[in-house]
């Protein structure tokens, strides 16, 4: 059965509009409804795997109206968004009891999910901007949800940089419209192929790279992330680090570079440079952190660097037209790392939330010896850490291996060396987490700590199982050809996107 594509946006929106209207006593109903929505979105996303469709909103044919495009890349991102949001929503059911105004939290959460789905599905650059703003504004409010000093400060910083990024994107949209007379991605792509790149479009592309790079927290633009992600409530940190920076930043960048503007060598090198600086700087800064969530946030910068590096290598190789097979491998590595990181980083943030809720602190120097007190949390954290550090049987290993192979085959030996080196840094920082949080002496004030219960535990177990199973995504051929390879194909197709969309 084909789900109408607007349903991915309309269902969370409608429920988000209803939730604040419920009477005060309806908090349980609100929670139930919100969980139902995220699970429903997960079902939709699974159902639409492997499909490629175009939906014309309002029945207007493409240049007149807005179209939604579902293809391999979109469905991969939809899957990632819905898995992480379902787990995070389940986790918040109990975790958010420590805050007031829970219905509003649920509303903002659903709006953020709707915004991300809208960005991922949109086939129109202005529409992409609008949904980008929905997701961003919801996330600014959620970062400041705690209302304490740190939260407000982080939220303000995030909001200022995020708004500047949005204005950059809007300015880029305006320049593209002024040059091509169209807002539809397929038509812009066709127009650019016809008239070639000019200074205006190049400037627009650099505005997009700056804007989406700010949203993705690549290194020169990363200042907001280490404040914003730790300050948010744990499930929101999981959403922000897990999928938001990817759906709003990496996805939008990849879509525009590959499918709209077309690949070129300089853009590829810019992306590779951004990716490598993010990897190295994020890795080094993370090792020095003593705040559990802040360490995870810096590590997110480093890991997003891997994804952008893979995509950038793909751009370089594709633009040189030398070895499309290795370009495909690099992109596959990048995208696989993207979904991997979505799962294990959100799992890590959920465990940090569980630890914080049980102990009341996230300073690693005050923690210790929780392995016996919180066995499930510890197990989940170990699996995710092993995965993120690239210990062999775990999924993080495979994605890094693919990236290394692609880099070596393309004769970028130093890139491969950097990947391995940052991987070692990652291993060190997660050993540090294990050492200071879960092993060692139990401090006096943590003797009576209890394991988290109920839905929090369920969410963590769910993601742990998924994290263990992620390797199958690349090792089992049917799964690979139905989930990952269509996404790679979309990017490899490049500017033929316009023809594909018009044909569908």
């Amino acid at each position: 059965m084909n789900v109408p594509l607007p349903m991915f946006v309309a269902v969370p929106l409608v429920v988000a509009f209803i939730l604040p209207m419920l009477p005060k006593a309806g908090k349980a109903i609100a929670t139930l409804l919100a969980n139902a929505v995220t699970i429903c979105l997960l079902v939709f996303a699974v159902m639409s795997v492997g499909q490629a469709r175009v939906y014309e909103v309002g029945g207007w044919s493409i240049p007149l109206g807005i179209n939604l495009v579902l293809d391999g890349l979109s469905s991969l991102l939809l899957l990632a968004v819905s898995v992480v949001s379902a787990a995070a929503m389940l986790f918040s059911t109990r975790y958010m009891e420590q805050y007031t105004a829970k219905p509003k939290y649920l509303t903002l959460f659903l709006l953020m999910v709707a915004g991300m789905n809208g960005v991922v599905l949109s086939g129109d650059i202005f529409n992409l901007y609008v949904f980008l703003e929905i997701a961003s504004i919801a996330s600014y409010a959620l970062v400041g949800f705690g209302g304490e000093h740190e939260e407000l400060e982080a939220s303000f910083k995030y909001m200022v940089l995020g708004s500047i990024a949005s204005v950059f994107v809007l300015f880029g949209v305006a320049l593209v419209y002024g040059n091509t007379g169209s807002l539809n991605m397929a038509y812009i792509s066709a127009a650019i192929q016809e008239m070639g790149m000019n200074a205006g479009l190049a400037f627009a592309l650099s505005l997009f790279i700056a804007g989406f790079g700010l949203k993705a927290a690549l290194v020169p633009f990363h200042a907001w992330l280490p404040d914003a992600h730790p300050s948010a409530p744990a499930p929101i940190s999981a959403m922000l680090s897990g999928v938001l920076i990817k759906a709003l930043g990496v996805y939008a960048l990849a879509r525009l570079v590959f499918n709209v503007f077309g690949v070129s060598v300089p853009v590829g090198w810019v992306l590779v440079a951004l990716g490598i600086t993010s990897m190295v700087a994020g890795g080094f800064l993370a090792i020095g952190q003593w705040d559990f969530k802040r360490l995870l946030a810096y590590s997110s910068i480093s890991q997003v660097g891997y994804v952008v590096l893979g995509i950038g290598l793909g751009v370089v190789l594709l633009a040189r037209d030398a070895s499309p097979a290795w370009a495909a491998l690099a992109i596959l590595g990048g995208l696989f790392h993207l979904v991997n990181h979505a799962v294990y980083k959100s799992l890590l943030f959920l465990t940090s939330g569980s630890v914080e809720m049980a102990t009341g602190t996230r300073q690693m120097k005050e923690l210790g010896g929780l392995a016996d007190r919180m066995p499930v949390t510890r197990a989940a954290c170990t699996v995710a850490s092993a995965s993120i550090a690239g210990v062999p049987p775990f999924p993080g290993f495979w994605s890094k291996l693919i990236l290394v192979i692609a880099a070596v085959q393309a004769r970028f030996y130093w890139v491969a060396a950097v990947i391995v080196f940052v991987s070692v840094c990652t291993l060190i920082m997660y050993l540090k987490v294990q050492r200071y949080v879960f092993l060692g002496e139990v401090p006096e004030h943590l003797r009576h700590v209890r394991e988290s219960r109920g839905t929090m535990l369920a969410a963590m177990v769910l993601l742990t199982v998924l994290c263990l199973a992620m390797s199958l995504l690349v090792l089992v051929p049917p799964l690979r050809t139905s989930v990952l390879e269509p996404a790679v194909e979309v990017l490899m197709n490049g500017v033929n996107y316009s023809r594909t969309v018009v044909r569908l």
């Binding site: 240049p63 805050y99 609008v130 929905i134 600014y140 320049l175 007379g181």
Partner: protein
């Protein structure tokens, strides 16, 4: 044409005053002046819908801003950030500005919009068929609420999100003990 230059120069002067004045309230009022200049500009650019919207938004935005600044230490603005950082940012901004100046040659001349040259452009169809397709005589509304209504849904959602966000940020107590809620 001259009116556009005069208005834009007025807006730029107001912007410079808004950026450089030490008094926060004056800065807010200068931004209001930019908004009203923009509103007039929209009117001369033949966009009455935008002019109306801009002017009402301006009034409300000014009320919000004045609410924020009034009765607070509005004049206590010390200088800029540290000198070195300022110089670096200004140099970067100047480079971006010079780069941006090269761009405008690629755009169509002011007064000769791109859609007029492209017979298949969507805007041509909006002007030609807007009335028969949607029944609204205001072509902007037909684009806003019919051809691109999905954007408008997104826009209403943005406003909704921002308002929910503002009430969340402004709520009084934000945390409670977990034991309270279990009871």
């Amino acid at each position: 044409m001259a009116v556009f230059y005069i208005l834009l120069l007025f807006m730029i002067v107001a912007a410079i005053i808004a950026v450089e004045t030490k008094n926060l309230l004056s800065a807010v009022i200068c931004v209001g002046a930019i908004g009203f200049g923009g509103s007039l500009m929209f009117l001369f650019l033949r966009a009455p819908d935008i002019a109306i919207t801009q002017i009402v938004v301006e009034v409300l935005g000014l009320i919000i801003l004045i609410r924020a600044t009034i009765a607070r230490d509005v004049t206590l603005i010390s200088g800029d950030r540290e000198f070195f950082g300022t110089v670096v940012s200004v140099v970067i901004l100047f480079v971006i500005f010079l780069a941006g100046m090269q761009v405008f040659a690629t755009l169509p001349q002011f007064g000769a919009p791109i859609f007029a040259r492209l017979p298949e452009a969507a805007s041509q169809a909006y002007v030609r068929d807007g009335l028969s397709d949607t029944g609204a005589t205001n072509v902007v509304t037909s684009v806003y609420l019919d051809y691109r209504a999905y954007d408008t849904l997104g826009e209403a959602t943005v406003l909704f999100t921002a308002i929910v966000g503002a009430t969340v940020i402004l709520r009084g107590k934000s945390r409670k003990l977990l034991e309270d809620s279990d009871a």
